[in-house]
């Protein structure tokens, strides 16, 4: 009787409005790099370094999304990264979303919780994963590592389809806290390219270039009790073009610190466009430029200022169940103030090639090759040459089940 009732319950669940998704990866990784991964405190830019070559089980993703009322929707995403983070499984997003059913050409949306600001054009999948490659671009890797809006967002869009127009125009505003240490990773290690998102209560080892050294960061903390904001615009043309611009400012007070970390003042502008072309071609381009600063200074800007930018172009083509994607990117950081104490100047470029195939409704296979050529002056401090070419090949069998 028990199995009958279990079967019945799961059948009802699977056809109801509550979606529960579990996803697990089986990975084979082969990295060629003399540097340790930032995950173990090194100054390498890959998630899995050469010491981890071989098979991995995980990461594991658990995701729930479902209605609370007719217009309120809750979603929660958790990852088990399997790399000895503070918690074996931890949240990356938790959102209560207000989605009133549109009754006119104006469409309102609001989000409350912990979520990504609308920057990425490629991380469109469940769990904010890229649909095109395994590793996100440097820009979106960094967003996944250091940026999370823990607060509220309001979005208003004038839609076109109901009026015979071919385009939508929308604006978004977000206010948030708990993002004060943002900037510490890009300052110490620079840009990186991978698919690991920092969990809301997760901890990253101190990036001092010495694997296993003490010290760690918790990135989503409130230190200066100042509210940050972002504001952006989005333009959509049919289902062919999406273009966005967003200004982000965490309004950190770089002079304030607590027992663990300073508040960093981090600001950036992000631009992105995604174009869908006949023949299942997709083009994505993004650019992000900004700066981050920390420490006490007479002008309030901090005694250490780092400016950074990155851009990329991704080309993808689907052939039925198959998808081929290629991405080229450049990234750069410059220490504009305080270089005598700490100079993390970084220059680099990367090429990513990925092949994806949907084997069935539940299984997807990805092969990704990644080559990152970067210079990071800070590597001199640990006796490494500043320049390093890191490459990796990953084969991933991904199983996902949505109930």
């Amino acid at each position: 009787m028990l199995w009958v009732s279990t079967l019945f319950t799961s059948a009802c669940w699977a056809s109801g409005p509550h979606e529960f998704t579990a996803q697990i990866d089986l990975r084979l990784t082969a990295a060629d790099s003399s540097l340790s991964s930032f995950r173990s405190g090194g100054l390498g830019l890959l998630r899995y370094d050469a010491s981890q070559n071989g098979a991995h089980i995980g990461p594991l993703l658990l995701d729930y999304s479902g209605p609370v009322t007719d217009t309120l929707r809750a979603s929660v995403t958790a990852f088990a990264t399997g790399d000895a983070d503070k918690n074996p499984i931890d949240l990356t997003e938790a959102i209560l979303e207000w989605r009133p059913v549109p009754v006119s050409l104006l469409r309102w949306r609001a989000r409350l919780g912990a979520f990504y600001p609308p920057v990425s054009m490629e991380n469109r999948g469940i769990g904010w994963q890229s649909l095109y490659t395994l590793s996100s671009s440097a820009i979106n890797t960094w967003i996944g590592e250091e940026v999370r809006a823990i607060g509220a967002e309001l979005n208003l869009t004038a839609t076109g389809a109901g009026s015979g127009r071919s385009f939508d125009i929308g604006g978004v505003v977000g206010v948030y806290g708990w993002n004060d240490p943002m900037g510490v990773l890009i300052q110490k290690r620079g840009w990186a390219i991978h698919d690991r998102q920092t969990a809301l209560f997760g901890r990253l080892p101190d990036i001092n270039g010495i694997p296993g050294a003490d010290g760690s960061y918790e990135l989503f903390r409130e230190i200066d009790h100042r509210i940050g904001y972002y504001g952006g615009l989005e333009f959509t043309y049919l289902d062919r073009v999406v273009a966005r611009a967003l200004h982000y400012d965490n309004r950190g007070d770089p002079a304030i610190h607590d027992s663990q970390e300073y508040a960093w003042l981090s600001r950036f502008n992000a631009y992105g466009v995604r174009i869908e072309l006949p023949g299942a071609w997709t083009l994505i381009a993004q650019r992000l430029d900004g700066d981050t600063s920390v420490g006490v200074s007479a002008d309030g800007r901090g005694n250490h200022i780092l400016a950074y930018w990155s851009d990329f172009l991704l080309v993808s083509k689907a052939f039925g169940r198959h998808r081929l994607s290629a991405r080229y990117e450049q990234f750069h950081t410059t220490t504009e103030r305080g270089a005598t104490r700490f100079d993390s100047h970084q220059d680099g470029e990367a090429l990513t090639l990925a092949y994806r195939m949907d084997l069935s409704d539940h299984w997807q296979m990805t092969v990704e090759g990644l080559r990152v050529n970067s210079t990071l002056r800070h590597r001199l401090r640990i006796g490494e040459l500043p320049n390093a070419v890191e490459s990796s090949l990953q084969l991933v069998a991904r199983y996902s089940l949505t109930l």
Binding site: S15, E19, G66, P67, P102, G162, G164, S166
Partner: protein
């Protein structure tokens, strides 16, 4: 009202062999101004004058299906007679919330998967634009015809409408690539007995590009 010019060439062929119940037939083909076939476009023949009263729109008895497959409405364009009912099954593994705020029909179906909602009545003629409140890129269209005589062009831009009683009709067209929400009146035709009419319509003016180029995206959420 935007000016829309159109050119039609009309070829009427009278057949000598009369069927048991005389009924006329219209074959039409639609192209854009560059003579490229225009698919998924609805053609409606509305009786005018005396013939109108003889043809009260008849509702289809079983509900018509507007499915949701791979995060797209299937079909993308559905044409139904006034008074018909439509079901909105969701064949995707993710939930959808279908709605419309078009004047011809305002409705919303709470978040669901599978078949959860009763069929929806479409009493008013006109264009109903469908959306999904979870997946904003999902757009579908239901054209509620004020006449039982209609059809939709296939991939070759062709449509055939049969069993037409003798009479005079206004020929109207609407498709998702039109920039107007209102149907374009193409012309009037008069049919007798078992006329077989062929209509070649070249839609002047520019049309919007086709939606749905991105195709299926497994695991898409945003």
């Amino acid at each position: 009202m935007r000016s829309v010019a159109f050119t039609t060439s009309l070829v009427a062929v009278l057949l000598l062999a009369a069927p048991l119940v005389p009924a006329a037939e219209l074959r039409a083909s639609l192209t854009d101004r560059d003579l490229v076939p225009v698919s998924d476009t609805v053609l409606i023949l509305s009786p005018v004058g005396e013939s109108r009263s003889a043809t009260i729109p008849r509702a289809a008895s079983p509900p018509v299906v507007m499915d949701q497959v791979n995060m797209q409405f299937e079909p993308a364009v559905l044409v139904i007679p006034q008074g018909a009912k439509v079901t909105f099954p969701n064949s995707d593994s993710v939930a959808h919330q279908v709605y419309s705020f078009s004047p011809a029909k305002r409705f919303a179906l709470g978040l669901y998967r599978g078949v959860r909602h009763a069929p929806v009545d479409f009493e008013q003629p006109g264009l109903v634009v469908l959306g999904c409140n979870i997946h904003d890129f999902m757009i579908g269209y239901i054209v509620v015809a004020d006449s039982p005589y209609f059809g939709k062009t296939n991939g070759a831009g062709e449509v055939q409408i049969t069993d037409l009683p003798a009479g005079t009709y206004t020929v109207k067209a609407w498709g998702p690539r039109f920039k107007d929400k209102e149907a374009r009146v193409l012309q009037k035709i008069t049919l007798r007995g078992d006329d077989k009419l062929t209509l070649n319509v070249k839609l002047e003016g520019s049309l919007l590009p086709v939606r749905g180029v991105a195709g299926k995206m497994k695991g898409l959420r945003y």
